[in-house]
């Protein structure tokens, strides 16, 4: 189908207006929303993610592809019976308490959104309690916590403890310069993302299980 390919290309090339007009055209001509979502938007973003991982696409290009994907999604959402049906999953994200360095967190959030996740972005300096509250509220699948400072790593552990002691169903992923796989295991988080592309990959893996 040409229109499916046109949307796919628009997302791959980060053409926002093109993506939304093509999605509209597809809907008008009776293509199923689900087919557009899976066949064009998600499929294109999967390729974008791969290309980024292989060093063929750069961050700004990935983000514009994500924007094109979002523009398409906005048109598709009303066609689904519930929001959840459209989304791959829901992620609550923020920087750890005491940390206001958010560029890495923003990058992960945009890439998650661009890949079809619903993202509740709590911003910076988020308390462990707030992470959990929000996750309950939005029925999250994953809590993602980012830190740049070594001093704020401790509050990541508190998020993990809260999830464990309250026996909550959330998976937790951590990331940021001072964090590593060993720390992730030590505090009992479920995954560690080396960088934004890896973070996205790990979230997808967490939801597969």
């Amino acid at each position: 189908m040409d229109i499916i390919k046109a949307i796919y290309d628009a997302v791959l090339e980060g053409q926002v207006d093109q993506a939304s007009s093509s999605v509209q055209q597809a809907l008008d001509s009776g293509v199923e929303a689900k087919a557009i979502l899976d066949g064009s938007l998600i499929a294109a973003m999967d390729v974008v993610g791969e290309k980024f991982g292989e060093g063929e696409l750069f961050i700004p290009q990935v983000l514009w592809s994500a924007k094109a994907m979002q523009a398409g999604m906005d048109l598709l959402k009303p066609r689904f019976s519930s929001e959840d049906q459209a989304e791959k999953g829901t992620v609550v994200i923020g920087t750890a308490k005491g940390d206001i360095h958010d560029i890495g967190k923003n990058l992960v959030a945009i890439m998650l959104e661009g890949s079809g996740f619903r993202v509740a972005d709590l911003g910076v300096d988020v308390t462990p309690e707030r992470f959990v509250e929000k996750a309950v509220e939005v029925k999250a699948d994953v809590i993602a916590v980012s830190a740049l400072l070594t001093t704020t790593m401790q509050s990541m552990g508190e998020v993990a403890s809260l999830i464990k002691t309250k026996k909550l169903p959330f998976k937790m992923i951590v990331g940021g310069a001072p964090v590593d796989q060993a720390f992730c295991e030590e505090i009992g988080a479920h995954a560690y993302g080396v960088d934004a592309a890896d973070g996205l990959r790990k979230v997808k893996e967490l939801l597969k299980r």
């Binding site: 700004p60 290009q61 924007k67 560029i103 990058l107 080396v194 960088d195």
Partner: protein
């Protein structure tokens, strides 16, 4: 309207001011007028004598200043080099910088075994193919001196292997006038004729006077031959301060300059307006080891100084960079490549040779051509500077994002990031976990892998069949002549 603002800043460097340039220039003129140079070729002595120079005993000739000033004026300010396909690719002159390899390294660090062995003919092919593929190597040279080719034939063979394996301009040496004529025959075959070669030169002859103040018969013969054929020549002395020149840098520079300028006088008298590229090397001899440093800080000081002088003359300038005194590609080589390439770029030299050299001009290590390529790429970005205008000051996007937001998703970022920011081809920028995951390779390892990959996959454009056959027959004749 905005006035008085330069829309682009870029790194600028000058070592000498005008008074210093003139002081050294005048000293070189005095050397030529009062001390003279030895010229071991009757044809050149006659040329000089006929035009007012005083020829003395022992082939020494005193050259009056007006002949030098005339040569500086008649030599062209710009020399265009073409590639093998007659496309203009290098405009030598001004502060336009071009980089290439050097000639005649007798030893090679084997790409696979890493042993240091004699250079062979297949190494000339390998370095040419690597240079052909390297985007920041603008011109090629033999790089090696093949020990498996008979002396008297190796310059001819090198030229043939280079022209067969790359379209890029060739910077070449020749042993004698005879060699040179065979090479020019080969080049004319590729270009069509000697006239075509003079019109679209894709080569530069590299000859040197001998310090102090001597022009050998071979060197001057080649100088005059190139002038007559309007084949660009790079005629540049390599003086060792303290042994073949005064130990002090100002004196060393003045003697070397006198050597270069007297070469230019002979060249321009032989054919006014013929293309010449000039410059000097004036470096120290290591008084402990009796070796020649390619990267001494004094080398770089005289390099910057002569660049300023030849910019003042408005003449095309030779340069030396991307070389090392280390016998093996190591940290020393890395530091010396970085230092010299940046220095030569800041000096605004046009024909910057010796990229890929190690071992004080004795050792080749082919992957180092790619290392030089990476450093050149980095330095070129630095030299480009940055624009200062409304679009680049970015006030609009700063206002849109505001405090605490981010610029990652802005159209302005998408529009500019590729051009504004340099990216390495080989230098590492992976974070630690990713670097470890991808094999934890150092740049040394990546360079060797890349060189081997190029040799495996890069196929240079071949010559037309009939040209190739003509080259083969010139080679066979040269070989037979030597045998006899």
């Amino acid at each position: 309207m905005e006035t008085g603002l330069h829309g682009r800043c870029s790194p600028r460097f000058r070592l000498l001011d005008e008074s210093q340039i003139l002081r050294i220039h005048h000293t070189a003129l005095r050397i030529l007028n009062e001390v003279g140079v030895r010229v071991n070729l009757k044809k050149a002595l006659d040329l000089l004598g006929d035009h007012g120079a005083r020829v003395k005993g022992g082939n020494v000739v005193e050259i009056p200043s007006y002949l030098v000033e005339e040569a500086i004026r008649s030599a062209p300010s710009g020399v265009t080099l073409y590639n093998r396909k007659k496309e203009p690719v290098m405009e030598l002159g001004g502060r336009r910088i071009y980089f290439g390899t050097g000639t005649d390294l007798p030893k090679t660090v084997d790409l696979k075994t890493r042993e240091i062995r004699d250079t062979r003919a297949d190494d000339i092919v390998a370095s040419t193919v690597i240079s052909d593929a390297a985007p920041n190597i603008d011109f090629i040279a033999s790089y090696g001196l093949p020990r498996d080719i008979r002396p008297g034939l190796h310059y001819i063979r090198c030229f043939q292997l280079e022209v067969e394996n790359s379209v890029k301009p060739i910077f070449f040496t020749a042993g004698s006038l005879e060699d040179l004529n065979v090479i020019l025959d080969m080049a004319s075959t590729v270009a069509g004729s000697r006239q075509d070669l003079g019109r679209h030169p894709f080569l530069v002859q590299y000859s040197e006077p001998t310090s102090p103040l001597t022009h050998s018969e071979e060197a001057v013969s080649k100088l005059i031959c190139c002038a007559e054929n309007r084949v660009p020549i790079n005629y540049t002395p390599a003086l060792l301060a303290g042994s073949t020149g005064p130990v002090t840098l100002a004196g060393a520079l003045s003697v070397a300059l006198a050597e270069a300028l007297s070469g230019m006088v002979i060249h321009q008298l032989a054919n006014r307006g013929a293309p010449i590229i000039s410059g000097v090397v004036a470096t120290g001899m290591d008084m402990l080891k009796a070796t020649i440093s390619y990267t001494a800080p004094e080398f770089r000081l005289t390099h910057s100084a002569y660049a300023d002088i030849f910019h003042y003359y408005d003449l095309p300038i030779w340069g030396t960079a991307g070389c090392s005194d280390s016998q093996y590609p190591d940290l020393q080589a890395g530091a010396e490549y970085g230092f010299t390439i940046l220095n030569a770029a800041l000096d605004g030299c046009n024909l910057i040779h010796d990229c890929g050299y190690i071992g004080q001009g004795f050792v080749a290590s082919p992957e180092m051509i790619l290392f030089a390529d990476e450093v050149i790429s980095m330095v070129k970005r630095y030299m480009r500077g940055f624009e200062i205008d409304d679009e680049h000051l970015a006030m609009e996007v700063i206002r849109n994002v505001g405090p605490g937001g981010h610029f990652l998703s802005e159209k302005h970022t998408l529009d500019h990031f590729l051009k504004e920011h340099w990216r390495p081809a080989l230098f590492n920028r992976e974070n630690l976990p990713n670097w470890v995951k991808k094999g934890g390779k150092t740049v040394d390892q990546k360079l060797i892998e890349k060189a081997l990959e190029i040799l495996e996959t890069h196929k240079p454009e071949s010559l037309p069949r009939e040209t190739q056959a003509a080259l083969d027959s010139i080679w066979e004749q040269a070989e037979q002549k030597i045998r006899r």
